[in-house]
Subunit: 290 residues, 2 copies
DNA sequence: ACCTAATCCTGTACACTGTAAAGAGTATTT
DNA sequence: AAATACTCTTTACAGTGTACAGGATTAGGT
């Protein structure tokens, strides 16, 4: 019942493993398995049976070593989760060109594209939504995804800070919006019960309840329900995305003349010379440019 | 390692417990504890020590019964999670008036208010973010929160469907945006390590890495880092919210003349007469109207 | 060739988890 | 008084992450 949270292991050790920069062992027997093998096995399990099917024992068994041998290669389960997140952020078979050609004139289409790709990524690996990451996963694949994401906002008149904030905004929105759909998918697979069946199961009970204390919901709910049945996640996603794009457009239009939106409140400059990577890389990768 | 997902127990039983409509027992000894006691204890534990500290044994012990007696009152741990979510959605001490007076003329302020309140709710109960809900929590408190949320969008020229979509959009955005902050809080409390320390720990390693394959990120990252240090979550939140509001404003402005935005694609009308509650109540409550 | 140190792999063990099963005690209905 | 329905308890099982100790294998230093 340890909760699934990545980013708790020794951060440097995690990064070393993620970038393949762990110092090569000088003595001792050759490993029968590699870290990549373990991570790949874990991802396979997670894709198939969900994140709670990923146990150190099962991963070890999948690659053919004994349970405790897992810890020879990966110090923690938390580290495994980090490695899984970066591994899945850009599937090997679907590499993207080094610099995706985003025409700034088509920025709405570009942002829509990366947002949809990001969403598709979550739907392909829904377990990612269940892994809480309280630190950015600074792995190569995640960085790549962040770079592509950022590129969609490049050259359209936004400052660097605004670009980062915009990526964060869209990524956050996508993350929030995809939850319901992804979970619905998972539940359908696991329990075989669709949303419709669930509603019909509880409908008799709901009829016994007085909804008058919730007047607005009571007015809106039935209308929405009749028009869209039990909800159209794709519609909801596009609706929100369009609003976001309109909001961005207004920002871009107003940039030329209007006041600066982001106040540059400098922090004490004792960080000079320090390599500070991006603040909030998206968790996972858009499967962009195919 | 069972994953924390609510909404898996018998839905009707869950609803009965949530609305206090479980049939009163006709015989047998009086209960020493109530469902509300158990839920309250569980929430206390979650608030204090995080969601993975909430075990059936610990909850039972907290109310003074033996571990298995838990199951006399609550069928599942999944049901407990649902009950916790609705219980926390509107703390007893902070009740709101039945109809919060939202002046439609001030809709931007109103939406900002509910969004901020929603965000504050997550920061007060960060464990809510770790509980995956694949079904809406149709409890009284959650309904109330949804109703208040909806009210902020009422009377400003949006259709019912657009109101629902707008609430969903804002709720999704807030959910996504609050993750990092909430987790940072939790980690700070649990490990005593702040984001800054984490960055300084990994900085030496990061300097050994070639970031040139990520040109845009490599350009944006340092600028953002220098201006805002390790990130200003409040700023990022407000930035995204302002864009959202601008997008909504454009929608509202264009409503009078322009074409209908939402195509009314009717589903087969075999749902007539069925009471269909709101599609996607927000998970948790804005602490609105104080 | 030997010894030592580093490394991989393994078995055992512990404290947890959710909860199934069975039974003991208690209050109400018949 | 007997049957019933309910609360609460004990025991038990299959899982989990991982600490610890030891055995097997390789390379470097002598």
């Amino acid at each position: 019942m340890a909760e699934e949270i990545a980013g708790r292991g020794d951060p440097v050790r995690t990064l070393e493993l993620m970038w393949g920069k762990a110092p090569a062992p000088r003595r001792g027997p050759k490993s029968r398995v590699s870290v990549a093998d373990l991570v790949a096995a874990a991802v396979t399990i997670a894709d198939a049976d969900g994140i709670d099917a990923v146990s150190t024992r099962r991963v070890a068994e999948a690659v053919g070593i004994s349970p405790m041998s897992f810890y020879t290669h990966i110090p923690d389960k938390a580290v495994l989760l980090d490695l899984m997140l970066d591994a899945v952020a850009s599937p090997p078979g679907e590499d993207t060109p080094a610099n995706p050609a985003f025409d700034p004139a088509e920025w709405r289409a570009n942002v829509t594209f990366v947002a949809r790709a990001f969403r598709a990524f979550y739907l392909r690996h829904p377990w990612v939504l269940q892994v809480g990451t309280h630190r950015p996963v600074l792995g190569p694949n995640t960085m790549r995804a962040y770079d592509v994401f950022l590129s969609a906002f490049d050259g359209i008149g936004l400052s660097e800070v605004e670009m980062d904030l915009s990526v964060t905004m869209v990524a956050n929105y996508v993350h929030g919006a995809v939850r319901d759909v992804a979970r619905a998918h998972m539940v359908k697979e696991q329990t075989g019960k669709s949303d419709d069946e669930w509603w019909y199961t509880i409908a008799p009970f709901l009829e016994t309840i007085d909804f008058s204390p919730y007047p607005v919901a009571n007015r809106v709910g039935p209308v929405v329900g009749e028009l869209y049945g039990l909800g159209d996640p794709d519609l909801a996603f596009d609706f929100g995305l369009e609003r976001l794009l309109d909001g961005l457009e207004r920002l871009i239009e107003g940039k030329a003349s209007s006041a600066v939106v982001i106040p540059p409140k400098l922090t004490p400059a004792d960080r000079e010379g320090l390599v500070i990577p991006p603040l909030t890389p998206p968790r996972g990768a858009p499967n962009s440019g195919r």
